[in-house]
């Protein structure tokens, strides 16, 4: 693996740590976008700049995940007037610690992986696991609906990164299908978040547990 690819992978891991500590939604969304762009670049670095397959995958990722989805999320932030995640279930310091533990776990897991796809090296699997763990962490510990959407997207980033190790064998159609799914998913979630905001005046998902039909 070239030095550039490993530098990008380390940047991806650092962005995981940033995503786990930031309290601002705009930073969260921008961090996700930069991470997605980094992963798109990685697809090119790993597969070579002369493969049309890599160009399509990288281009699709860049346009959808680094530009379109952040744009929709930012619009949702403005419309729901939620700039900050105010009450996460665990504090940001603990979050950072958990994310760091996740990175450690990712390396331990990656070094035990019987991967024939080791051609891409240990670091890429570790970065993929670390990103998945961070996504899970965001999904579990945050209470704002928008933060959870980003958590889901970060999780997807990790899965995509892991898929990169198998890029030659993954059919293009599957990649494109996943990207389209993610895009539509974010689109729908944006509308849902807006509707939650309109009905409840906030987008705190912990309030959703009290939703009930009226007793007959």
């Amino acid at each position: 693996m070239s030095g550039w690819a490993s530098t990008v992978l380390v940047a991806v891991i650092l962005l995981d740590l940033l995503l786990s500590v930031t309290s601002r939604l705009s930073v969260l969304i921008r961090g996700f976008a930069v991470q997605a762009a980094g992963i798109a670049l990685l697809a090119l670095l790993l597969d070579g700049f002369d493969s049309p397959h890599a160009w399509i995958v990288a281009g699709g990722t860049l346009v959808l995940k680094a530009v379109a989805i952040p744009y929709f999320l930012n619009r949702a932030v403005i419309r729901t007037n939620a700039r900050r995640e105010l009450e996460p279930l665990v504090s940001y310091g603990t979050s950072l610690l958990l994310a760091a533990l996740g990175v450690l776990l990712a390396f331990a897991l990656a070094s035990r992986l019987p991967m024939e796809a080791r051609r891409a090296g240990l670091l890429i699997a570790a970065a993929a696991f670390a990103t998945m763990v961070t996504g899970l962490l965001l999904l579990v510990t945050r209470t704002k609906a928008l933060t959870e959407v980003v958590g889901y997207l970060v999780l997807e980033n990790g899965i995509f990164l892991f898929g990169l190790t198998l890029l030659r064998r993954m059919p293009l159609l599957v990649e494109m299908g996943i990207l389209l799914d993610v895009f539509v998913g974010v689109f729908v979630m944006g509308i849902v978040v807006y509707n939650i905001h309109r009905t409840f005046d906030h987008i705190d998902v912990s309030a959703l547990t009290t939703l009930k039909e009226d007793e007959p």
Partner: protein, 308 residues
């Protein structure tokens, strides 16, 4: 040990030039803010002025307070004997001296803290407690950084791990090196009580950490403490610069690179101070936690690099 006597020369740059570092930081901040700023040599003049004055001692203070500045300065001076300066080999080197280096700096801090507690002033006790707490957070991060360097160079001596940085081995390890130096820079800011951890220029006792501890020191005592903190800044800067500098080449070029790097560190600190505000006290442990995480990640990457 049969080190030649002229190895002692390696200490000279730190002794002579460390106050200049403060001057460069001050000048950078002034220029960024559009002011003319104090002359570069102002810290030297301040030290001279303070040395010419008498000291005032409170009636409640005991010998602990009087000893604090001297003990602190002596510990930092001794720590300086273990660092290389560009091409110059440190006069004091043995396996494991990096632990002594870290704890000599801790001893100097302990002396200042003990002196601050001895005054019996509530303000200084508060500053002392903050300084002790934050240094407890900075210490693991600092040892992780030293551990990364020791692992890479397979040695436990500062002179070797900082002086013998091999270009070939490091260029293969750019990410861990970058992470470790970022962590070390954060530690440098925290240990030397610069913004964003502490504001060295403020006079509000409630927000200060280091400065509040030395409020009662005056005259030569204060000069010792100021000189000691300038030296400490130099030492941390020297660790940062030496771990990045390649070895080899002619001695004068290596020395010029080293001194240029030190000036670069000072300018960087000045720029950070111009661009950022002080962090809230509760955020400081997070910053130091970040430094520890960065250094830990660097260690992880180095070890993973050894795996198939």
């Amino acid at each position: 040990m049969t080190a030649p006597w002229w190895n002692v020369l390696a200490v000279l740059p730190s002794l002579l030039l460390s106050p200049l570092l403060l001057g460069v930081i001050g000048k950078t901040k002034a220029l960024v803010a559009g002011r003319k700023g104090a002359p570069l040599l102002q810290p030297y003049l301040d030290l001279l002025r303070l040395l010419g004055k008498g000291a005032v001692y409170s009636r409640t203070a005991t010998w602990v307070f009087r000893a604090a500045p001297a003990v602190s300065l002596a510990a930092i001076l001794l720590a300086g004997f273990m660092l290389p300066a560009g091409p110059l080999v440190p006069p004091l080197a043995f396996p494991g001296d990096l632990v002594l280096f870290a704890y000599l700096l801790a001893l100097s801090r302990f002396a200042v803290i003990a002196g601050a507690m001895d005054t019996g002033s509530a303000f200084e006790g508060m500053g002392a407690s903050r300084e002790a707490a934050f240094s407890a957070f900075a210490e693991p991060a600092f040892f992780l950084v030293l551990g990364v360097l020791a692992w890479e160079e397979k040695s436990l001596s500062l002179g070797v791990i900082l002086g013998g940085a091999d270009v070939v081995s490091w260029s293969a390890q750019i990410p861990p090196l970058a992470l470790a130096s970022a962590a070390l820079f954060l530690i440098l800011l925290a240990e030397n009580s610069r913004i964003p951890v502490d504001d060295p220029t403020t006079h509000l006792e409630l927000t200060m950490i280091h400065e509040v501890m030395v409020l009662d020191h005056s005259g030569p005592d204060l000069a010792f403490i100021l000189y000691g903190s300038a030296l400490k800044l130099w030492l941390f800067g020297a660790v940062l610069v030496s771990m990045l500098l390649p070895a080899g080449g002619p001695a004068w070029a290596s020395m010029a690179l080293f001194l240029g790097g030190m000036a670069g560190v000072a300018v960087l600190v000045g720029l950070v101070e111009s661009a950022m505000a002080r962090l809230r006290l509760v955020r400081v442990p997070q910053l130091l936690g970040l430094a520890a995480v960065l250094a830990g990640l660097a260690a992880l990457l180095l070890m993973a690099g050894g795996l198939p």
